[in-house]
Symmetry: C2
């Protein structure tokens, strides 16, 4: 048993472990171009894949899937697939992801108190 296996944990940690401060750590999880928007829409409840696409017209399918996947790996988002055809897949905040709500809520407050105007 001397073999060292390149386990998935070390893989999962790679992105996160580059963080040098707590704020950067959080940013590595919810930052980027699309994660904030996806999370924002998931705040108001579970959404189908196709719903997210409609809610975020500018996102490409590649980007949407990619970031949903990353957030699944980070256990922020939960994916539920009903085994029917055509597919019916729902994404929602996981228990862990729900803990982001205070952060995101404070962000919304901050934006609302400033010159941000929706749409």
């Amino acid at each position: 048993m001397t073999a060292i296996k390149e386990n998935s944990t070390s893989n999962a940690n790679r992105r996160a472990s580059k963080a040098t401060c707590p704020v950067s750590f959080v940013m590595s999880k919810i930052g980027g171009h699309w994660k904030p928007i996806i999370l924002f829409h998931l705040l108001s409840g579970p959404k189908r894949y196709s719903e997210l696409k409609k809610l975020i017209p500018a996102v490409t399918e590649k980007m949407l899937i990619q970031h949903l996947k990353e957030m699944q790996e980070d256990v922020l988002v939960f994916r539920k697939a009903e085994n029917v055809v055509p597919p019916f897949v729902t994404y929602s905040l996981s228990a862990e992801g729900e803990q982001l709500r205070p952060i995101l809520d404070e962000m919304v407050k901050w934006a609302d108190a400033r010159d941000f105007k929706p749409q």
Copy 2:
């Protein structure tokens, strides 16, 4: 007076106005590679330019100045230069920037409650 001047306001708005949701709006202000770390260190009080450099060894001077400047333009950070030589420049959170504290505090909480380990 028919000339259209490319004024600085439109420039200042460019980055911010691409936000399509409040969370993205906030991210456009405090996101990126270095702003989170800079802000984190400013949470504990004003810092000299050289202090920030020491606190964030991995940052280059170009990046440090660039992001401090952007945050000045976004009125999140206040720059105070004493007219002496060698220069003595202090950066601190502005009144507006202080309003970010709840967000950043929640981020620190979230990181602490998880597998983030400082250093």
